[in-house]
Symmetry: C2
Subunit: 207 residues, 2 copies
């Protein structure tokens, strides 16, 4: 297909497609004339993934390129792929944050209690530490033990999540699916909790 068709199919403007071509995020099409090229389905899929990495996950163009390069190097190992896509480890070599000495003992205890094998670099650890810190700074008597029942439910959620990634073998497609289902579902999962809270409150207080 021509670039105009690729733009229509992917929902990405031709100007942006040309920019991605220049930056090497998108491999060149098959040249059919001095100023024309032919693009295929793999370009459509790759554009979708680029859009998800930049638009949904909020990566910069250069970070998105690192992720894409690593995926494209024939890396179809699902575990590595998910780690890359979710930012468990940074693409293109570890640039450790370091510095800030924070007390992660709460998260460490929680992870150990759950028997989870997770990387020290998983940024989710930081989020949990921060939340526990904030709750305590607001005078709440709250620590990692209180999160254990929530962690058990998160475990069941993760099983549902990973079941939905069984399908596609193509690494680009799997990466796209993993990202969309993880990131785009986040607001919906929180919204389901709100609805369920109201439903539960109706049962308890209007039963």
């Amino acid at each position: 297909m021509r670039i105009s068709e690729l733009s229509r199919r992917s929902g990405v403007s031709t100007a942006t497609i040309k920019y991605y071509l220049r930056e090497g995020l998108l491999p060149p099409g098959r040249a059919t004339a001095a100023t024309q090229a032919e693009y295929g389905e793999s370009h459509v899929r790759r554009l979708r993934l680029i859009r998800a990495l930049i638009g949904v996950r909020g990566l910069t163009v250069s970070a998105a390129k690192d992720v894409l390069d690593t995926i494209s190097e024939g890396n179809s190992d699902t575990h590595e792929l998910l780690g890359l896509v979710f930012g468990v480890w940074p693409a293109g070599g570890g640039k450790d944050e370091g510095g800030e000495e924070e007390d992660h003992s709460g998260v460490t205890a929680l992870v150990s209690e759950m028997g989870w094998k997770v990387s020290e670099h998983n940024p989710a650890r930081q989020v949990i530490t921060q939340t526990l810190h904030t709750l305590r700074s607001l005078g709440m008597d709250y620590d990692w033990h209180d999160l254990v029942p929530y962690a058990e439910l998160a475990e069941k959620t993760a099983v549902l999540d990973l079941d939905q990634l069984q399908g596609p073998d193509d690494p680009l497609e799997k990466a796209e699916r993993a990202m969309l289902l993880t990131f785009l579902l986040e607001p919906a999962l929180l919204a389901l909790r709100r609805l369920a809270q109201e439903a539960e409150s109706t049962i308890r207080h209007r039963g």
Copy 2:
């Protein structure tokens, strides 16, 4: 206590406390001299709640005042209180959004499948409609049926949430707790899902 002590205890600056007093968010202290007043524990608690409504839930000062007024009118009905705090119904009378004709049939079907009794005005409905729309616009084959297992887990989460609100009888305290535990836990719940995804991926792909 004096205003300086109130500031220290609540973590809110005296300038901000004076602003809240002027705007009527905080009731005046007991006058002890022409320019001095004595504040009590109820002021500390109310300041905390104001901070949560504005800082955590992101309400404007005037919307926070509406919520506080409604709570203070002796409204200690927990169901009403939670509805107010979570924004299920707007404080100070229904200002319906209306207008935008959107197709909420997916959410309606989901809510009915779950047997949930929830208000038509719960803003979480909109979030779910939007998510389903976005996933479909990105070419995913995804509808409300796919959310049912997640809704079942959300139901269990809501039971945990409401169990934690059994304690306090004071409506201000209950409102504060409901808000902190709902809004501040949100990033932590998503982070738990990420950690659990990595743990589950480790089991499946490195087992």
